[in-house]
Symmetry: D3
């Protein structure tokens, strides 16, 4: 099966060590017959900690998803906790996964209550909105999404490519300790990149607690493999009633044209 990982930004060559590392860490976890392609957006405002800017960026992400479908991919993965998940599902007839929804679902089978530790207050907002919309509040702790402090920045991210222990992990563990005290049994890394980086560094559990720290990206991709196989072999992708019922192509084209997308 062919899977398209859509990054939420244009390609930033300054982060090429990150891109290489992601490739090296994620690919071995996939099925032998899964072809994974990383794609960057053609246009993007790039990372902006803003609900509104992410709304704009989601337009580019759906465009990339439409392109992926046209290019014959069997499944699409949104590698960002800010994602146009349901809007994309509505218009596509192939499975669409996100790091957020799929890793939360996986966490439900791994423990009673989870928490998400993320990288900025604004990401907290986005993830919390999704968690509430997914109806999963009773399976997460109170105040279920929390950010490391200080927030992540480019330096922290690049530094963590080689060694997350120096700076990222101490911030993570400070927040995670509070989450565990409040009942968390599973910690999701609320970022598509730090998860694989932690795993690459052999870090998978808050020491001494029994609480796993999930590489949300890879876990989500594994669930997407399942969703895609269900699509290919059982022929079912989604409901075609109400929320995810597709609109006519011409109507969508009219909407896209209004934004100069076609």
């Amino acid at each position: 099966m062919k899977i398209c990982w859509i990054h939420p930004t244009t390609r930033n060559d300054g982060l090429s060590r990150l891109w290489d590392k992601l490739d090296a860490v994620v690919r071995p976890a996939l099925r032998p017959d899964t072809e994974l392609e990383f794609r960057f957006l053609a246009r993007s405002g790039n990372f902006t900690r803003s609900l509104y800017a992410e709304h704009l960026n989601s337009v580019h992400m759906v465009e990339a998803a439409l392109q992926a479908r046209d290019d014959g991919f069997d499944g699409v993965y949104f590698g960002c906790w800010n994602d146009p998940l349901w809007e994309t599902r509505e218009v596509l007839d192939i499975p669409v996964a996100s790091v957020g929804e799929q890793s939360m679902l996986a966490a439900l089978s791994m423990g009673k209550r989870f928490a998400v530790v993320t990288v900025s207050e604004k990401t907290v907002a986005a993830i919390e909105n999704d968690l509430m919309a997914y109806g999963l509040s009773s399976r997460a702790i109170a105040n279920p999404v929390r950010s490391i402090m200080p927030e992540s920045d480019g330096g922290l991210l690049l530094g963590s490519v080689d060694d997350p222990h120096a700076n990222f992990i101490p911030r993570l563990e400070a927040v995670a300790a509070d989450c565990i005290r409040d009942g968390a049994e599973v910690i999701l890394v609320g970022c598509a990149y730090y998860g694989p980086l932690l795993r690459a560094a052999g870090y998978g559990e808050i020491p001494g607690t029994g609480v796993p720290v999930l590489d949300s990206s890879t876990v989500a991709l594994k669930y997407l493999e399942a969703m895609t196989d269900i699509s290919l072999k059982l022929g079912v992708v989604k409901s075609n009633r109400r929320h995810l019922k597709a609109a006519p192509r011409e109507a969508l084209d009219r909407a896209r044209a209004s934004l100069g997308l076609i």
Copy 2:
């Protein structure tokens, strides 16, 4: 105070009787010192029953809101149940109201449980998502948003400008009867246009039930007047923490530029 009603479409002259009627019905309900201006979108895919198309259209709606702010308006009203409410609030420092949120809040003070009767299955989906996100499920009936059948179309809408009794009201009452049986004490009209049209026709209650049928648009505008006055006289518009904290202008501009908006 200056209020900008933003329509979710470009101006369709074929509906000019509707636009005139809205103006005639809504304006007298406003405060004497409220200046209301109706604005249409410069570009739009226009009505498309699609979560995705509405996501695209929301981009235009935020643009219109930004323009309204720059033009000196004191408050913005989104005249559509599909709206970019929180994204716009994040970037604006003036109050933003929507027909959905404000009319639901008003309904909370009018009875114990409300229901929304809307015009299509797709609008059901959009409104239900909002209702859940607003955390109001326990104040609405089970299956709280329901559509008239057959769904609304241009003919039904235009016909209702002069007389909603012939075709719209019977469909409304059929759904409303079920809602009332299931516990609804207040019915919100899940459309920015039919509400004023019903009121213009003197229709404000499901006959014989004591259940009011709210002109959601006008009710929402009245709440926006309050929000705007609070802004002007108390100086408070919103929280600047987490969900609604504004991002830097340059970051937003970068995102807008990526879509050719500036």
Copy 3:
């Protein structure tokens, strides 16, 4: 429009500096055509931190509301978080607002999660009961209503008329810091008096947090203006089904007579 602010006590001349200050702070925030009258109860046990005593006091508050209606007021405001809100709505055909419900609704449009910081453990109980009854728990933090410590007393209140910084604000900020750590984006002042006093002192935000501290009283009055205008211009006040359906006058009179109220 004519609005009646009903105080939950008889007039205590020892607090006349407070009454004057409230008048001076609140009135300028109202619409030019709003006539506000402060009324005290004819009889009252006055402030008693007790669910039961407040139940008794509510009888006097409804009496004052009935009198206000008879005197031609267009809307009634209960200036106390202990209030007979729904009982009064049932018997009146004009809008009734409370500092509690209206300020909570306003908070919903200002941020994702709110908290109420109030002045005694007993007020915590009353407000928490209302918050649960209003179905708003998912929009507030866990343990959503918290009291300053030590609790407020007459000295603290009178002292805050001129300067809330000395004693009230430090207590407020100690509790608010915990609320914000637990996810609060908006703080409501859980008292009808301290809110205006804080605003008079230019205090509107927990410093350095972006979290507004709402003058719940004035905010609620602004919402009441909207509700009253909706009543006057749209003709709709409430549902007349089930919860708020009015009982016959003679039945109510029988009940009132049993308490010697008529």
Copy 4:
């Protein structure tokens, strides 16, 4: 132990057949050492289907409870679904039970989901408010409180003293059938009188369904016996923190005096 059943009305001699029947049906279900006394209110507006009138009537009910405590009763039972349960608990140091709370708690141990079938739309409102406040919605069906139609009146009640089969039971079964279809496993009779009358008539289950119809009054009294014994033998009645913490006697007296109660 001495238990005081407080009726929510003055004694209506026109209903003496009812009072005699209640006595005859309920007393044999009590413990041998339980002394039950039926008391009527000294003053009351009597049955009024109104949230407000019931608020007033609750004042008389608390008075009766205070008197019962002074007269040496060990426990108080409010024989009406409209009750000042928590206000009374706050001021008393003996157990207080209501037909509503205690029968709902009993239902929780008898099946997964319950429903309450009551006698008027207004009683629906009162019971639904309590059910939500008790936090039991997830153990009841959707739209969990429903009224017989036509509503009950004096004729129906008196007629049911001798034979509820003729008129009451058919109305009950019509509503109950809907409740069972919607998932109810237990039906509570939402009236303090019809429950014992049904039991006297040997009616305890919706025929052919396995769904018991609970005599809520007697069930609640049995729970009160347990609560009272816990009080007498374990010395614990309630929490003395926050919601149920007692206020000083003089403060309460001041409040009562304001209503001429002392």
Copy 5:
């Protein structure tokens, strides 16, 4: 009435001081006509902190309950927070109570929010599962079940037979303080044994807080007396629809035979 207290273990003579103490503390709290018999399991893996091991042990507990029924008991009490409550109710036609469900229901009438302080992390898990299944989360604090630290062991238990003050109470109070800060008004002792031992030592409230510490076992037994009396005098034990509908004896025997139980 005859009540059977079923211990979740075989009789451990090393704990005979505990068994004697329980008898001495609990029996005086029962009704004069209640015959209480303590029974131990014929076979058991005994205390194992494991969901799975408790599942196995529950098989023995149901066996003991079936035997109790056959031996003419009128009610069954499971003296352990790990219990097969609903499975046993399904097969028995006499009331079945558990320390968990009955004490939680009792707590609902004693305050607004409760917490359970238990003796190990694994017991936390079991109790939290039940609390969620009973639908009582909104009446408990966030993270509602918490364990003393270090966890309880045989030494702590035996030592507490004579004096819980030395070691158990300090651990209890450390956790309880957090619970009270988070809103708890009632503390349930999450163990069938420590509750009676605390009561025997005259300990019934977290000092200075007004928060009662409930002897959950005795409280639950008192509720069971009520349930049993309801069964004996009203003839109603449970719903016979869906969840608790009994299966045919021969089917159950087939299942029991498969485990060599008959």
Copy 6:
């Protein structure tokens, strides 16, 4: 990877056409490198519509799971909606999936609200308990699990091996129509066998509605493949804190020995 499908019964040769059909339908949907083995229980009371009998049967199912682990399987699938899911997860260090949990999680990504249509009232009870425990009520319709009528029996099942259209599908569609009217967008078949049989017959959607009817068994197996791959390649199976923390082997053996299992 090696997957073990554990049937909840001993092998009934009278159903061999069913077993063959399941094999023929399910196997092609799996990954090429997945080895699936169907295993029956060594001992079982076999199908018994009883919470208690299923509790006993779960003992056998865990035994089979332990055996599967010892035999080198990489993942375990419980092919029954009555399952010891969490108890087994606690004791195993390989992934455990159930038809219930995994298919519900899959449904969450396919639409906003799902319903489960099952085969008997007793299965309704079991599934509803799980759905509530999983915290998914807000993503399912009200009264979310419903049974076909008349309930399924051996004849219906065997008849459906060749042709579910004659008898099963009409019963399914009658219930499904109600579910869809109440908001269901996805229907899960609440039985491990009918799902594959429907799929074999080419039936995958309630005609004319856009609502998919999920072969829950196969969907769950696909998710188990993902879980197992996550285990094998990422090394994470579950949390080892609180709910799923493993108990010592000797403690479990003691518990198993008490039932003669070892």
